[in-house]
């Protein structure tokens, strides 16, 4: 409507301009038809170059009539005496038509270029959206949302056939139910033919269907020539070539997410293989050494050649090695339970001092020969999983005992920090080598010097960290240059405020 107004205005202005010319030439008594004709032609050209064709025609007819009436003899009539003047008239008409046509073509091209640039920009933005997507579960849904947003569409659906079913991800403000049979037809058609239409820049397989009174545009998603799914859009009419390009971007995005999934799966398989190798190597060594010692010691006991004290020593050795095997098996079982996801957190109210006592109790055998100093600040009820926390703490205490020279003190501090219970185990051992710090919680990792220390399974710290993670806690290691290694545990807890207040009174 507005467009029409502007065009009428242009006609009006053109006619006024023609009138002014006519008036001026009359006033100045210039009657040379060539001058008048050229002037009028200029006005017609200027208007036609900017306006639609009907404006140009109107202008040229008006100019012809005015020229004829006012300047061609016999002046004051619309008749033409000299046949040569017919030529002038036709020239007028032809020039104005050609000019308006040329300008219309140029304007159309400009408009097309603007539209294409706009769609290119949208496609570009979309492809950027595709690149930042990494999680395949979210990828396609967010891709559909991106298309709807970038292209101002009311509805977008990405449909992918999988094992005879259609997986459809939709986005947009208007829900549209797609008929899967219709989709299957369109998909089969896309599979059957692959022709490129150079004019509309599209491959075969585009379809339009009407669902709930709305026009749904369907375009096959192709990777190379192979269709992998369909894209359906509703709303603004997207040009076919753009839709095709859009389909290409979506297909690439799907391909990319599948590739990422495959790679992740490959990575996981590789990690699991590496883990199995480490497990076999580590457990192989840890199992064989005690078994060898037990066999030799049992043979020594069987023979009659040892005195009583040596016999006692050999049976002690057997018991110690059996304990070691037992711990190893417990660790393996615990590890398997964690890997299988069979450990779940159960949150209960408990005093931190109870956790400390339980942990010390669990590893009493390892702490023999060490002085454990427990400093429990803020001993108020907290809500956490006491079982997991105590088990993890026990592993840390066991580790500290292993790496501390006999008789050295192990300090265990407990306090509340913000909304977390902090447990800190500090030993008087050699500390952790800087290069080992990032790996101490890795499964089967043992510090470089630890080979000479029997008893460690390489699983303890990993188990501690895994147990804490199950209840949302974490653990990290540090060195205190003055003493040794410090392991800090932080478990988010609920604090019984009333009890805390009573405690401080």
């Amino acid at each position: 409507m507005r467009w029409r107004h502007i065009e009428s205005l242009r006609v009006g202005l053109g006619i006024v301009a023609l009138g002014v010319c006519t008036g001026l030439y009359h006033a100045w008594s210039i009657a040379n038809p060539a001058i008048v004709a050229l002037t009028m032609l200029m006005v017609v050209l200027v208007v036609a170059a900017q306006a639609a064709r009907w404006v140009a025609v109107t202008m040229s007819v008006t100019a012809t009539l005015a020229f004829n009436f006012f300047f061609l003899p016999p002046v004051g009539t619309l008749t033409i005496a000299d046949p040569q003047n017919w030529v002038v008239l036709f020239t007028f008409l032809a020039v104005s038509l050609v000019a308006s046509h040329l300008s219309a073509v140029a304007r159309n091209r400009t408009h097309e270029a603007v539209v294409r640039r706009d769609e290119l920009a949208r496609l570009f933005d979309l492809s950027r959206d595709v690149l930042v997507v990494t999680d395949s579960h979210q990828a396609l849904a967010s891709l559909a949302r991106s298309i709807a947003r970038r292209f101002d569409l009311e509805f977008v659906a990405i449909a992918i056939p999988k094992d005879g079913e259609w997986g459809i991800l939709t986005a947009g403000s208007v829900p549209v139910d797609l008929d899967t049979r219709e989709l299957s037809h369109a998909f089969a058609a896309a599979k059957a033919s692959l022709e490129f239409d150079a004019h509309s820049r599209t491959y075969a397989g585009h379809r339009t269907m009407v669902v709930q009174g709305r026009t749904v545009q369907l375009v096959p998603l192709r990777v190379g020539a192979r269709p992998t799914g369909l894209l359906a859009v509703v709303g603004r009419l997207v040009e076919a070539g753009t839709l095709d390009a859009l389909g290409g971007v979506v297909a690439l995005a799907i391909e990319r997410t599948q590739f990422l999934d495959d790679r992740r799966a490959g990575e996981l398989a590789r990690q699991s293989d590496a883990l199995k190798t480490a497990l076999l190597a580590s457990i192989g060594h840890d199992l064989k050494t005690p078994l060898t010692s037990i066999r030799a010691a049992a043979a020594n006991l069987q023979g009659q050649y040892l005195n009583e004290a040596d016999r006692q020593d050999q049976s002690d050795l057997i018991l110690a090695e059996v304990d070691r095997l037992n711990r190893l098996f417990q660790d393996i079982l615990e590890m398997a339970r964690i890997d299988a996801g069979a450990v779940a957190a159960e949150f209960r109210w408990v005093y931190p001092s109870e956790i400390v006592a339980a942990a010390r109790d669990q590893v009493g055998h390892a702490l023999r020969g060490h002085e454990v100093r427990a400093l429990t600040a803020d001993d108020v009820p907290v809500k956490l999983d006491p079982r997991l926390t105590a088990a993890a703490l026990a592993r840390l205490l066991e580790n500290a005992a292993q790496y501390s020279p006999d008789g050295e003190r192990i300090t265990l501090q407990t306090r509340l920090v913000d909304d977390a219970l902090e447990l800190q185990v500090q030993d008087h051992g050699p500390g952790i080598a800087a290069c080992d710090l990032p790996h101490v919680f890795d499964r089967f990792f043992r510090g470089r010097s630890s080979r000479s220390r029997p008893g460690g399974t390489g699983m303890g710290l990993w188990i501690a960290r895994s147990l804490l993670e199950i209840e949302g806690g974490r653990v990290w290691a540090d060195n205190d240059p003055a003493t040794g290694a410090i392991f800090t545990v932080r478990v988010p807890v609920e604090v019984n405020a009333a009890a805390a207040a009573m405690d401080t009174e």
């Binding site: 076999l280 190597a281 192989g284 060594h285 199992l287 064989k288 050494t289 005690p290 078994l291 060898t292 010692s293 037990i294 066999r295 030799a296 010691a297 043979a299 020594n300 023979g303 050649y305 040892l306 040596d310 020593d313 050999q314 050795l317 110690a320 090695e321 070691r324 010097s449 080979r451 000479s452 029997p454």
Partner: protein, 233 residues
């Protein structure tokens, strides 16, 4: 009374030291114990033992390296303890001059048998050097290139004789496939063990009383062969 043979036990596991030490002592050996490779080399230099029991997984120096350094100066038998489950280390140690190996978890009898065999090898080597070897009813005359069993000469091809001589001259020691292939066919043949299988089969047919149950040419599965100077215990 002869002096008790001295054994150097090299293992970083206290439990092994505590159990294997008394086992060896009670079977007539004097035992020194080392927990690291450095310590082992030091003790070895200070008081040359008659035999070394060497764990391959040491905390400081690789067991194979300890083996190589000992072989630079000494011919004392080395029995390797391997627990890694990887054949590679064991075979490397044998290639570097170790005599024999026991895989953890080993039984005490197995270890003691290996020790006896290795010590006997050194003892007979010292006595012999006569150009001939007699093992059971088999006599090998190196100089005349003759092999006689129960008074009957056995005709061997040059390659068969070469293989028999190679194993018999280092009797009771495990020679790896690699070492044998290299010695008989040259360095290019080390990746072609099928030559060796064929030759061993031929040789067994000629010298073994029962080729299906070898008495002299014993296989060490996946490792190599040994020539047993006396029947297995």
């Amino acid at each position: 009374m002869t002096t008790r043979p001295r054994i150097l036990l090299v293992d970083d596991e206290i439990a092994i030291q505590r159990s294997v030490g008394p086992l060896l002592r009670s079977h007539g050996y004097d035992v020194d114990v080392a927990g690291t490779g450095t310590e082992a080399l030091k003790q070895f230099a200070a008081d040359a033992p008659d035999l070394i029991i060497l764990d391959l997984g040491l905390p400081d120096i690789q067991g194979t390296e300890v083996c190589r350094r000992i072989r630079l100066t000494s011919n004392s038998p080395i029995v390797v303890l391997s627990a890694r489950g990887t054949e590679g280390d064991k075979v490397n140690a044998l290639d570097l001059g170790a005599d024999d190996y026991v895989t953890k978890p080993f039984g005490p009898a197995e270890l003691l048998a290996r020790i006896r065999v290795s010590l006997r090898r050194v003892a007979t080597e010292a006595r012999e050097d006569t150009g001939r070897l007699t093992a059971g009813d088999l006599t090998i005359d190196y100089d005349r290139r003759r092999v006689v069993r129960q008074g009957v000469e056995i005709r061997l091809t040059p390659k068969e004789f070469e293989l028999l001589t190679l194993l018999a001259r280092q009797h009771d020691r495990v020679l790896t496939h690699r070492a044998i292939l290299k010695a008989i066919w040259g360095g290019n043949a080390v990746e072609q063990p099928e030559h060796l299988w064929t030759l061993v089969a031929q040789l067994r047919k000629k010298i073994e009383p029962d080729p299906a149950n070898p008495r002299y040419l014993l296989s060490e599965p996946w490792v190599g062969y040994r020539f047993a100077s006396s029947p297995p215990d």
